[in-house]
């Protein structure tokens, strides 16, 4: 026990903590309410478990790539607060996708389809958005050259798969039905309105660059580069992602500007790539380019300088390390060898969400009220301290919800609210343990002031031991579970910590303070610590 316990100091500390949390929680321009989980605001939650086709363990790299592809697709829905999180690792990893507000029935199909990586010869290129200047002659930012191991051979044959370009003009006057510009823009041939669609497409306004579209590799495709700078007409795919064996980012062995990406094809892929590059290298720009298309978006469109027959290629360009690594990742895992099993889908309408939130709040409020009444009836003046302690704990918890919602993306779910309501009981119990100890001391004939101190020393141990078990349970639950169990465990753990804080800094300090007041020592039944009512003769108190 502290030599000189100073209740004032504790009270100042807890006040500072509360003020600090309040300021932090209410920083202007940020969210000032706890983030609500899907079950409270409506939306779709999908839990996916990644599985390899051959049953081998999923590498962390594959998982990261899967998540980033899913994230890209989710971003494509245009919901600002959509979340993609991973829980667990290895074969028990789960990908949890939460899309608030959206209850479209097609979401799930779009999510679980594996990503598609296609290599499509370029038919035509144009600026992504209409430019006031003259007709563009864009040069692709990257160019492919044969790897040192490659055997270059000049065979300038143009295959039938790359028909003449429709030579589109950047004429913004073309008007087409905007519905036709919804991705993916595909056709079996280049006749019809395809040139018009290409002309009308404005990458800045289109959703194409958001990705998330599954295109048919056997059809022509109009698409945009990821940053929206160029738009392309692309021929059916020559190669698909599974034709690639590996891709690595590295520095050119002879030195030179920037990083490069080395590419290795499978045996099958090498054959296809040879045919394709023979055609491409013979064509004129821009038809000597092939576009690397991931989920309907052009990631890169290098030009082919010579046929590449050996199945290894190098994509050069002035890549930064990050760009090169990102491209290598896309190439390596673009077509995921990973399938996604749908474990659980929950779609909750916003109305039902609001109902659940209301019910949760009413239940919490009602529960709190009952507890307050009970504490007041039983502990009288001490009960008031308990009620204020509960208020301080509630305020702390609420502020933490807001801060954690912003900081680590904590969302309050129905299970979380239930955790908080259950915590009312556990929090109150700390006060009950303390008060019962004080009363025990008084029963032994001690004066209130002394009882408050010795009672605390003994109650403290019990409170800590009991709260420790509670936090232990919450921690184990949090780390070993998925989904709603986690939300519950987190709230339970958080509120238990807040309970310790409040009991140590607030409850004890206030009880110590009021123990000095004349009224509390008056023996009035309303104090809740009346020696008489606790079975001690009034006289014994006086004599001590």
């Amino acid at each position: 026990m502290a030599k000189h316990y100073r209740p004032g100091r504790s009270l100042v500390t807890i006040a500072l903590i509360l003020v600090g949390l309040t300021i932090w929680a209410f920083i202007p321009g940020k969210d000032h309410a706890p983030k609500l989980g899907l079950d409270l605001r409506g939306g779709t939650q999908v839990i996916l478990s990644p599985k390899t086709g051959d049953g081998t363990a999923i590498t962390p790299e594959q998982l990261t790539q899967t998540v980033s592809i899913i994230r890209q697709r989710v971003d494509g829905f245009g919901v600002a607060e959509a979340q993609v999180t991973v829980q667990g690792s290895g074969s028990s990893a789960k990908i949890i996708v939460t899309i608030p507000g959206q209850t479209s029935r097609t979401i799930v199909d779009q999510l679980k389809t594996t990503a598609q990586l296609n290599f499509r010869p370029v038919v035509a290129v144009d600026y992504g958005s209409p430019k006031p200047t003259d007709s563009p002659t864009p040069t692709a930012s990257t160019s492919a050259s044969s790897a040192p191991s490659g055997t270059p051979s000049a065979s300038p044959a143009v295959s039938a798969s790359a028909p003449p370009s429709p030579t589109p003009k950047p004429s913004p006057s073309v008007s087409v039905d905007p519905a036709l510009l919804a991705p993916p823009i595909q056709a079996t041939d280049l006749s019809g309105n395809f040139p018009d669609l290409f002309a009308a497409l404005d990458c800045a306004k289109s959703k194409i660059a958001d990705g998330g579209v599954v295109d048919d590799p056997k059809k022509y495709l109009i698409s945009c580069e990821k940053n929206g700078s160029y738009k392309y007409v692309l021929a059916p795919a020559d190669l698909v992602g599974t034709d690639i064996q590996s891709a690595t980012a590295g520095l050119p062995p002879q030195g030179g500007a920037g990083w490069q990406v080395e590419l290795k094809m499978t045996t099958e892929g090498a054959k296809k790539f040879a045919t394709s590059t023979q055609t491409l290298s013979a064509a004129k720009a821009p038809q000597n380019q092939f576009a690397i298309v991931l989920d309907g978006v052009v990631v890169s469109a290098p030009a082919v300088n010579e046929p590449i027959l050996g199945g290894s290629a190098v994509i050069t360009g002035s890549f930064t390390v990050d760009e090169a690594k990102a491209l290598a990742q896309v190439l390596k895992y673009g077509a995921l060898p990973i399938g996604l099993d749908v474990d659980e889908v929950q779609q909750i309408s916003p109305t039902l969400g609001a109902d659940q939130l209301r019910a949760g709040l009413i239940a919490g409020g009602f529960g709190l009220l009952l507890v307050i009444l009970y504490l007041l009836l039983y502990y009288r003046a001490l009960g008031i301290v308990a009620v204020f302690s509960l208020m301080v704990a509630a305020a702390n918890t609420y502020l933490m919800f807001i801060i954690l919602g912003r900081g680590i993306g904590f969302t309050l779910t129905l299970a979380g609210i239930a955790g908080a309501i259950v915590a009312i009981g556990i929090t109150s119990d700390s006060f009950i343990i303390y008060f019962e100890r004080i009363r025990d001391e008084i029963r032994e004939g001690k004066r209130l002031r002394t009882s408050v101190d010795t009672g605390w020393t003994r109650a403290r141990r019990t409170i800590l031991a009991a709260d420790f078990v509670s936090i232990l349970a919450a921690t184990v639950l949090y780390f070993l579970s998925v989904g709603s169990v986690r939300g519950f465990a987190f709230t339970l753990g958080l509120t238990t910590l807040v309970d310790v804080l409040v009991a140590f800094l607030f409850t004890r300090a206030v009880v110590t303070r009021i123990a000095n007041s004349n009224w509390m020592n008056s023996g009035s039944a309303m104090t809740g610590v009346s020696p008489e009512r606790l079975g001690v003769a009034k006289a014994s108190e006086v004599t001590q």
Partner: protein
């Protein structure tokens, strides 16, 4: 309230004492009957598992007032899509809940569209939940793993903070609580959902929390007891139980009130759902947990401790002393006889001396 307060005083002073530890055979029998019933029901009826564990699809359609006609209507709607209904229930009077076997997302879209059309609500109002067949087993696997890890950690903590006999007694009480709670689920046919599993897991924490508080008092009361000859370990443990009885009642009340409020509010506003599944498990578990921390954990602890040589010796000394000077049999002797014994005398000052002397040593 005042009644409970006064009882608290008398319990504390030992003026009123319920012989809980001494009647352990009675409590063991009660628990044994409950446990056998639980295990038997679990074996025969099994648990009513929610679709989260079986895999399948669930559709909840909000309606103005759900009647038996709505059930038929829902059945017809789903059957018309070529899918089989496994159950239709009315939840909270304003929701029709349809469960089917596992569906593909296409099939589920068709079913939800058909239901929406049939009940005249917009399709986005239909709550849909699809669960893959492996999900439930994974939830259970995770829960089982969490359980084992938690038990090991908690056993270590109890053994370190208290002693091994307390760890064993605490864990026995814990297993008792979970088994009986699950048994009650099997018996009543309440649906087990992931939320109920959360509830069961929380009971673990709560049950131990309650036991820790009681054991802390037992630890305090039995400190240095073997050097004297005033009371046996069982008596000291029983005194601790009585002294913390009011706390146990208050704590349980305060913990149960919010849970009860979830149940009442949840049922009246929402019908079944996460809140209720959780609250129900907690409500049952907390009741059983309070019972076990008083009537199971401490008697088992006393039984284990009474087998230790120093406590056998202590019991012998206490008996010998009481035989020699019958006057020395104070209220604590009453513990051996039966309960409750109400003494006419006021607060016992001689009871006060001992604990204080012990405390000064701390």
């Amino acid at each position: 309230m005042a009644g409970l307060g006064t009882l608290g005083n008398r319990l504390y002073s030992g003026e009123v004492s319920y012989n809980i530890v001494g009647r352990r055979k009675l409590w063991y029998s009660v628990s044994a009957v409950l446990l056998i019933l639980s295990i038997a029901t679990l074996g025969i009826r099994g648990l009513n598992l929610g679709i989260e564990f079986k895999g399948g699809a669930e559709f909840s359609v909000p309606v103005a007032t759900a009647t038996d006609a709505s059930i038929v209507q829902a059945r017809t709607a789903v059957t018309s899509t070529g899918n089989t209904v496994s159950s239709v229930t009315i939840v909270g009077g304003s929701t029709v809940r349809v469960q089917t076997a596992a569906l593909t997302s296409e099939e589920s879209n068709k079913v939800s569209a058909e239901l929406a059309k049939s009940f005249g609500v917009s399709e986005s109002e239909v709550k849909v939940q699809l669960v893959g067949p492996t999900w439930g087993s994974e939830v259970s696997k995770n829960a089982a793993r969490a359980l084992v890890v938690f038990l090991v950690l908690v056993a270590l903590f109890l053994a370190m903070y208290f002693e091994w006999p307390m760890a064993i007694a605490g864990l026995v009480a814990l297993g008792h609580d979970v088994l009986i709670t699950v048994g009650i689920y099997a018996l009543s046919g309440f649906e087990v959902t992931p939320a109920s599993v959360i509830g069961f897991l929380t009971i673990l924490g709560y049950s131990l929390y309650d036991t820790v508080v009681v054991f802390d008092k037992v630890k305090e009361n039995t400190k240095g007891i073997t050097s004297g000859s005033r009371m046996t370990y069982s008596e000291a443990a029983n005194l601790a139980l009585n002294q913390t009885l009011v706390r146990s009642i208050n704590t349980s009340t305060v913990a149960l009130l919010p849970v009860l409020s979830i149940l009442v509010v949840g049922v009246s506003l929402l019908g079944a759902g996460t809140l209720n599944d959780l609250a129900l498990a907690l409500f049952v578990g907390m009741l059983v947990g309070t019972y076990s921390s008083i009537f199971v954990a401490t008697p088992i602890l006393a039984q284990i401790k009474e087998r230790q040589p120093e406590n056998i010796a202590l019991a012998k000394r206490v008996t010998a002393k009481r035989k020699n000077s019958p006057d020395a049999v104070d209220n604590l002797g009453a513990v051996l006889v039966g309960a409750p014994i109400v003494h006419a005398a006021g607060p016992r000052q001689q009871r006060v001396k001992k604990p204080r002397a012990r405390r000064s040593g701390k």
